[in-house]
């Protein structure tokens, strides 16, 4: 299996509750989860099982009530807000179901947005050429070389999602966290997006966590983790032997 590979994400006994008045909703009740470097994992589960919550916690968008998250062997839970902001900008790339592009900016600017957030004005003037080249190369790679100046509303869903992926990758993150990236797309377009993700995983060794409730989509990953009743269901109901073998083989080869 993957025990030999160093875990890039290590989640231990993660708990998250939502309180509203008297009632407390325990969404995550002790999740343990590992993502090996270069691994492509799908998280599946029923709607409301807490997949998005888990992803947000790993993406540092929210704080857990208990448990630990390690990125590359360092704990990233309980950091100061400025260090969380920094990590979010540098180490994690996120892709969402509804793309979440900034409507005022065109495709290229959207891809550049994380770099603009990172750099101050003066620094930006220094790095902007290089940043633009990187962003352009990414968009080119996703077949959007001719749509650089298009606003999100002028793009199709698949194109927007590819812009979003390019934006997540422009910072060269350690992990890519994707929350139902194909949820709003038709089957063919969704397949295209998945192909892109697989390609990134295979060619660039990008570690990917993909949240979905579509079994077919999940099967594209190396490994499937099922979330149920706030915990990771250890019995892999639809484990994809072939995928795991594929990953193991690649690890050996790499």
């Amino acid at each position: 299996m993957t025990e030999t590979a160093p875990a890039i994400l290590r989640v231990r006994d993660l708990r998250k509750n939502y309180r509203s008045g008297e009632t407390t909703l325990e969404v995550l009740r002790g999740v343990d989860f590992d993502l090996a470097t270069g691994e492509f994992v799908s998280i599946v589960g029923q709607s409301g099982s807490g997949k998005s919550t888990l992803l947000h916690l790993m993406g540092l968008l929210d704080a857990a009530d208990a448990g630990s998250i390690e990125l590359d062997g360092t704990r990233i839970d309980g950091l100061s807000s400025s260090r969380r902001d920094r990590l979010r900008n540098t180490a994690v790339g996120m892709v969402f179901q509804s793309y979440h592009l900034l409507p005022e900016l065109d495709a290229l600017e959207n891809v550049l947005a994380p770099l603009m957030v990172r750099h101050g004005v003066i620094e930006w003037l220094r790095v902007r050429h290089q940043a633009r080249d990187t962003a352009r190369a990414l968009l080119d790679r996703f077949g959007l070389g001719g749509r650089l100046r298009h606003k999100p509303r002028q793009l199709s869903g698949g194109e927007m999602q590819r812009v979003a992926i390019a934006r997540a990758l422009v910072t060269r993150p350690r992990v890519l966290l994707a929350d139902e990236p194909t949820g709003n797309l038709d089957e063919a377009t969704g397949a295209g997006i998945l192909d892109t993700l697989c390609e990134l995983n295979r060619a660039d060794g990008l570690s990917i966590v993909l949240v979905t409730h579509d079994a077919a989509v999940a099967r594209r990953a190396d490994r499937i983790v099922r979330l149920a009743a706030g915990r990771v269901d250890d019995a892999p109901l639809s484990s994809d032997e072939a995928g795991q073998a594929r990953h193991a083989a690649r690890r050996k080869a790499g």
Binding site: L61, R86, F96, H100
Partner: protein, 549 residues
């Protein structure tokens, strides 16, 4: 970097935010203009008041005054030393002015002020406010032989607003005497004819009598039979004066019993405030009830206890126009020596005269309050009052200051309204852009950075609004008189009526400090009102924000 880009992009698409720029602009412009005009009025008023009053006034509490002004002046000089550059004694008493216009007697309540014509102009701007150019150089209480200004010397317009002063002076006096003589003769003839015609009809005869008396009342004919009081006060006529009427120091003094020739002689000269003798009509022309050369009667109290009222006849020789209507319709200046004599203020034994007050001028830059306090220490407070011109006009100046602060508070509320506009618009933007804020946060934008977008946006609105307001306000304040002229030309209405204000142009002074204060205030309000929306944006939870549609 993203802050700048997003600020710029939002600005380009959110024109509604520009509405608050306009309100900031209007508020700032209004404040600058109003402050400039108010400062102009206030400055104009202060220079007027200061020009009328001397720096320091040293006065006695009693109407009879104090004896020996020279000794007092020496003492003041010794106490205050180098700070004093000029002093002049004055006598001021409340009095009544009577003059006749078309057979009707008009009575005015006045302040009769005896001044020393040689030194009075040295302690205040008194000389500047006179209507004869020669009197502005050195005042004379002798009637001038014409040459009074028909153009207001204090205005910068060249329009003739006082055509009536054209023939004022000796020519007017001679003409008036001649006209009265003719008129009197005609009445006399009529009366004789009337008496002959119907001796039994007493009614009409009496009315003609009254008419004649009325005509004669204010004229030199009156002087032919002076009352005992008047005879004592009006010294003997100097025959030489009749030939040289313009000589200020040799005034006509009809000898007791001898008949004075009003066409060649004058009574004691007086300078009444212009407001007592004239009014301004709608066309902006000054109409005069009395002209230099006319005779008037003044009733005033003597210096004794209890004071008795005495009357005397005077000849108007000039007008005093300080453009402060309070003074122009109240003050009448006479030679101090004549007034002292008429009121019995000269001690028969010692020959020392009394005065009510001493006007003191200090050197440029002297500390008025310090000198005042020094003098207060030297002279007992129960006998003498020492006050600066500011003390004298304290309530008025304080009222103007207060008016200005109240107006400023009200106007600042306009900008505050603009601030609330910004607050509301920004809250709208925060709500509308909640998802985008969540996106930025998911990309690693800090809370401070997000808040900074809105603060920067507010700062931008404030700076642009205040900058435009500054330009607009200054251009209005600097060109207010051309704008007024334009508005008057367009509407045909008088926007600024000089007959009310006695100024010919709207005064406007732009104090850089006030402007700075307004700009800082406006920008502060703009930034201040974006603080709440900025805080709200900064505190948005990224996950909640992302879920928001």
């Amino acid at each position: 970097m993203y802050k700048l880009l997003l600020c710029w992009r939002y600005l380009r698409t959110r024109w509604i935010a520009l509405a608050s720029i306009v309100s900031v602009t209007l508020g700032v412009a209004t404040m600058i203009v109003v402050n400039a005009v108010m400062a102009g009025f206030s400055h104009e008023m202060q220079t007027r008041i200061h020009g009328i009053l001397s720096d320091l006034v040293f006065e006695s509490h009693s109407l009879s005054g104090f004896q020996d002004p020279q000794w007092h002046m020496d003492e003041i000089k010794r106490a205050a030393g180098d700070d004093i550059v000029g002093m002049t004694p004055t006598v001021a008493v409340p009095a009544m002015l009577n003059f006749q216009v078309r057979g009707q007697w008009i009575t005015r309540q006045i302040m009769l002020i005896g001044i020393d014509e040689a030194t009075h102009a040295q302690v205040s701007d008194f000389g500047r406010y006179l209507q004869h150019p020669a009197n502005r150089g050195q005042l004379s209480f002798g009637l001038r032989d014409g040459g009074y200004d028909t153009i207001d010397s204090q205005s910068d317009t060249k329009a003739v607003t006082r055509p009536a002063l054209e023939g004022a002076g000796w020519p007017h006096r001679r003409m008036r005497v001649e006209r009265e003589r003719v008129w009197r003769e005609k009445l006399e003839a009529d009366r004789r004819a009337g008496v002959d015609a119907g001796a039994a009809e007493s009614g009409p005869a009496r009315s003609v009598d009254q008419q004649v008396n009325a005509v004669l009342a204010a004229t030199a004919a009156d002087a032919a039979a002076p009352s005992a009081d008047q005879a004592a006060d009006q010294a003997a006529a100097d025959p030489a004066a009749a030939g040289k009427p313009a000589d200020p120091f040799r005034q006509a003094r009809p000898e007791e019993g001898t008949k004075m020739d009003p066409a060649r002689e004058q009574f004691t000269g007086i300078v009444p405030g212009i407001g007592l003798a004239s009014f301004r009509d709608n066309a902006g022309t000054d109409r005069f009830l009395v002209l230099p050369g006319d005779d008037v009667k003044i009733t005033f109290p003597t210096a004794g206890t209890p004071p008795k009222a005495v009357s005397d006849t005077f000849t108007v020789v000039d007008f005093y126009e300080s453009k402060m209507s309070e003074y122009d319709s109240n003050f009448v200046f006479v030679p101090i020596a004549s007034l002292q004599r008429m009121r019995g203020m000269i001690d028969p034994q010692s020959g020392l005269a009394s005065v009510n007050s001493i006007q003191i001028k200090l050197r440029e830059g002297a500390d008025l309050d310090r000198v005042r306090d020094t003098l207060r220490k030297v002279f007992p407070a129960d006998l003498y009052a020492v006050s600066t011109w500011r003390d004298k006009q304290g309530p008025l100046l304080a009222a103007v200051d207060m008016e200005m602060s109240v107006l400023n508070i009200l106007l600042f509320l306009i900008i505050a309204v603009a601030g609330f506009g910004i607050l509301a618009i920004f809250f709208m933007i925060v709500v509308e852009k909640t998802r985008d804020i969540g996106i930025l946060k998911s990309l690693g934008a800090s809370a401070g950075g997000i808040g900074g977008i809105f603060l920067g946006y507010g700062l931008f609105l404030g700076i642009v609004g205040a900058g435009a307001g500054l330009a607009l306000g200054l251009s209005i304040a600097w060109n207010i008189n051309s704008i007024r002229a334009g508005v008057e030309w367009c509407t045909g209405e008088r926007v600024f009526d000089p007959s009310i204000y006695y100024f010919y142009r709207i005064p406007s002074i732009v104090h850089p400090f006030t402007v700075l204060w307004i700009i800082v205030g406006a920008v502060g309000i703009a930034v201040g009102s974006s603080v709440l929306p900025a805080l709200r944006a900064a505190r948005l939870h990224p996950v909640e924000a992302l879920r928001h549609d």
